[in-house]
């Protein structure tokens, strides 16, 4: 492509920001006895390397599940095993059974950070570059700008390279899945997505849109001919990939069940810790976690989740299109985040990835959402002493988006993809012309609120009686934002007539 050097510059900038963020602290640094996610990942390397596969998910004298037991699917375990293999060459003390518990050193930190970077470089970054290069109807400059902005998204950088996790692997696989399925490489796309699910079970948030889109494609091709063939091929691909990943655990029924128990801890409550979803925010007013019995909680959560995502999914099945697929990914993941069971604040990344994919289509709203998603993780980031990198990366992301996409000039109805909706409403209320202005004012209010809350959380001490005041406020404010976005994205999906043919001129 022309201007390949600008694309290279964008990727290299993404790498620089990632590595410099990784120089900061990680979760649980210097905090015995439990430490944090960093120690969890190191512990999994220890377990997978020293114990036979059959014992990985079981409680035993060598493997105490209370101390960071494995609770991700097998692919994470295999990845940990691979990392442990490399660690053995450099310094076996890092993964020695029992004695390496709580091991912390500069060299070890360098190694762990390097594993995240390598996984990112191999899986996530190529997917982002390929996705943006394949975008249709936009200039080369905008493609490069998209790559830069997606790679600068602060949420993923701060969690993977700060807090310490491997979200870029599962999100990367999911993105390969989106790529495959959007460009009619359905089998490869489904395979990639199955790998994503088998790396982190939270990717199930994305599974319904994949299912509906592929089903819709099969229906379109006709269920009596090509459609049925495609359906069978897809089913076989999915089953085969699951079998391959879970092979060592399918030998005994008890193995499979134990892994499932670790992946889906239904014994735990509706939510844990502070998270910006409905249940946590609602419990500010009414403590439903304590009032309602456990199985009722599960049922309510189930009903709300599915009711909120049903319209979009049905529309996607009936009118499958890549654009509808992307937006349905957003709304489904957001529904799950807001209403589902045992949601963690990091799960917002599952919504952020699809929003990054629509960044070039609705830059203003996407940038706004991505800023809020990072803000919603503020308590976690502060706990990990990542204030400086957070502020810097958020500012960098904002400047990149603002200059690349001129977001403040793109707030008209058409550019917000609300034209069809507004036209329909104007049939009943002819004076409904103020939508863009409302949205602009809301944005300003939102940014001011987020900045104020950040400053308050950092500088002030919460009152004695309400020690969690600021965390709860952050979650509550974020939740309100997310509800607004849920409504917005659903409006786009439902009012998107002719699958976006009328929206061509925007880009």
């Amino acid at each position: 492509m022309e201007k390949w050097y600008l694309m290279t510059a964008a990727v290299l900038l993404g790498l620089i920001v990632r590595w410099t963020v990784s120089l900061n602290s990680y979760s649980g640094a210097g905090k015995p006895p439990m430490f944090g996610d960093y120690e969890a990942q190191r512990h999994w390397q220890e377990i997978t390397f020293n114990l036979p596969i059959k014992q990985w998910y079981f409680n035993s004298s060598d493997n105490n599940l209370q101390y960071w037991g494995l609770d991700y699917p097998p692919l994470t375990a295999y990845h940990s095993f691979l990392c442990a293999y490399v660690a053995k060459f450099i310094n076996p003390d890092w993964i020695a059974l029992h004695t390496s518990r709580g091991y912390e050193s500069q060299a070890h930190k360098l190694f762990m950070r390097a594993t995240v970077l390598i996984a990112d470089l191999l899986i996530y970054i190529p997917a982002v570059v390929l996705y943006c290069c394949c975008l249709k109807e936009i200039s080369t400059k905008k493609k490069i700008a998209s790559v830069l902005c997606i790679l600068l998204y602060p949420g993923l950088i701060l969690i993977d390279y700060g807090h310490f996790q491997y979200n870029s692997v599962s999100l990367g696989f999911a993105l390969w899945g989106v790529l495959g399925v959007s460009y009619d490489w359905d089998l490869l796309g489904s395979l990639a997505f199955c790998l994503a699910i088998n790396y982190k079970q939270m990717e199930l948030y994305h599974s319904l849109p994949f299912f509906c889109f592929l089903l819709g494609k099969c229906f379109k091709k006709g269920l009596k001919g090509k459609g049925l063939v495609l359906l069978i091929k897809l089913a076989c691909t999915v089953v085969a990939s699951f079998v391959l990943c879970w092979l060592p655990f399918f030998t005994e029924r008890e193995q499979t069940l134990q892994v499932l128990r670790r992946l889906f801890p239904v014994d735990r409550g509706l939510f844990e810790d502070k998270v910006a979803n409905i249940w946590c925010s609602f419990s500010v007013f009414l403590k439903i976690r304590d009032i309602l019995p456990h199985h009722i909680q599960i049922m309510i959560s189930f009903c709300f989740t599915f009711l909120s995502l049903l319209p979009a999914c049905i529309k996607l099945t009936l009118h499958p299109s890549p654009k509808g697929f992307r937006f349905t990914l957003v709304s489904c993941a957001l529904s799950f985040f807001l209403f589902s069971f045992q949601v963690h604040e990091k799960s917002i990344l599952l919504v952020s990835l699809p929003v990054c994919l629509v960044l070039s289509e609705i830059p203003f709203m996407s940038t706004w959402f991505l800023l809020v998603s990072t803000f919603s993780m503020l308590p976690l980031l502060l706990k990990d002493e990542l204030l400086m990198p957070s502020v810097v990366t958020v500012m960098a992301f904002f400047i990149a988006c603002a200059t690349s996409f001129s977001i403040f000039e793109k707030t008209s109805e058409e550019e917000l993809q609300l034209k069809c909706f507004s036209t329909s409403v104007r049939k009943y209320f002819t004076c409904f012309t103020f939508l863009p202005r409302i949205i602009q004012h809301l944005f300003l209010t939102s940014v001011i609120t987020m900045i104020l809350l950040t400053i308050m959380t950092v500088t002030l001490d919460p009152p004695q009686k309400l020690p969690d005041l600021f965390s709860v406020l952050v979650c509550f404010v974020s939740c309100l934002h997310f509800l607004f976005f849920l409504v917005y994205f659903n409006i786009i999906i439902m009012w998107d007539s002719k699958n976006g043919r009328s929206q061509k001129k925007i880009n």
Binding site: L6, I16, T20, K141, V392, A396, S406, F408, E409
Partner: protein, 439 residues
Amino acid sequence: MAALGIAIGGSNWFSALALGVTLLKCLLIPTYHSTDFEVHRNWLAITHSLPISQWYYEATSEWTLDYPPFFAWFEYALSHVAKYFDQEMLNVRNLNYSSSRTLLFQRFSVIFTDALFVYAVHECCKCIDGKKAGKELTEKPKFILSVLLLWNFGLLIVDHIHFQYNGFLSGLMLLSIARFFQKRHMEGAFLFAVLLHFKHIYLYVAPAYGVYLLRSYCFTANKPDGSIRWNSFSFVRLISLGLIVFLVSALSLGPFLALPSVFCLWFKPQGPRGFLRCLILCALSSFMFGWHVHEKAILLAVLPMSLLSVGKAVDASIFLILTTTGHYSLFPLLFTAPELPIKIVLMLLFTTYSISSLKTLFRKEKPLFNWMETFYLLGLGPLEVFCEFVFPFTSWNLKYPFIPLLLTSVYCAVGITYAWLKLYVSVLTDPPVGKTKKQ
């Protein structure tokens, strides 16, 4: 909302570039810093707690004050802000004191003073002729020059990782050069005099200043063929410059090998552009043959050369060879493992951008590099792989640990010498220009 949009939006690319690099500098705060960090902390302590008469005598720490007085005053001014961060750093006896607040203050002081550098770059961009530019923003010389200066690899790793204050000093120098281009000679001379009293290393380029000001400013007009018109001499101008420039030249320890180029500046004046080339040659000559030269001194030549690189293809080619090898020669400064990805990725970023953008700018002229030069530059890759990744695991690492440094120095010396020679040849063989206003 629209006004906010225009202020933040795409029309203000310079602010975006400046803000972007500032944010990157903030991310570099927790990186490794060298003993220069302690040097400056010590100077903060000396200037804050001791009377002026003691500043150049104090020797509790091995890092005694060895910069001219203006820099001492600069540290004194900084110390008044420092006391709000951490009072303890201002204690002369607190050797190697580096609390997190001290680190934060010191790093921020470098980032903050870089504002002068940003302003200087902005002024330099005004002096660039953008007539041959395309309509595309990224192909305009102003844009390329801004990136080459604001995001200069050498400055980033020397100032914001290793720890020094070259940013605002280079800013002073670039600003004085810009003033010469804008025909504001008095300001330019004044700025240079100020700069000299901040860091005496700039004495090396003083001959260029001296001769240029005497020849092109004190003699107000030339004969049509470009030679000197003696009756146009202005005593007023001479005397007004005298106190500044002649003192400087007299004190100059300038490398004698710069003399031919300095003579050239007298006999074949080429206006501000000629002055700039002479300045770069002085800086490079002093780097090549001077006494007790630090590798960081290459920045003295690289930064002004950026101004020339967006003008002519020949200059662009010399600039790229000089910059790439000069920057690579800075690699041994950062020898810690966590900084390794930073220096490699940043170097790749700057090098690919500079080469590709200048190639695109001059694509209508002949290629920038011949096969020999291309081969040499590509050789830097395997050299780095060998020195950093292969050699440490061989048996020679214990017996001859200096080999990577030796190889780096020798290889880069070839490139820098070659660039120096090429620049000298182009200065000596370029035709003189009659009237200065053509520049």
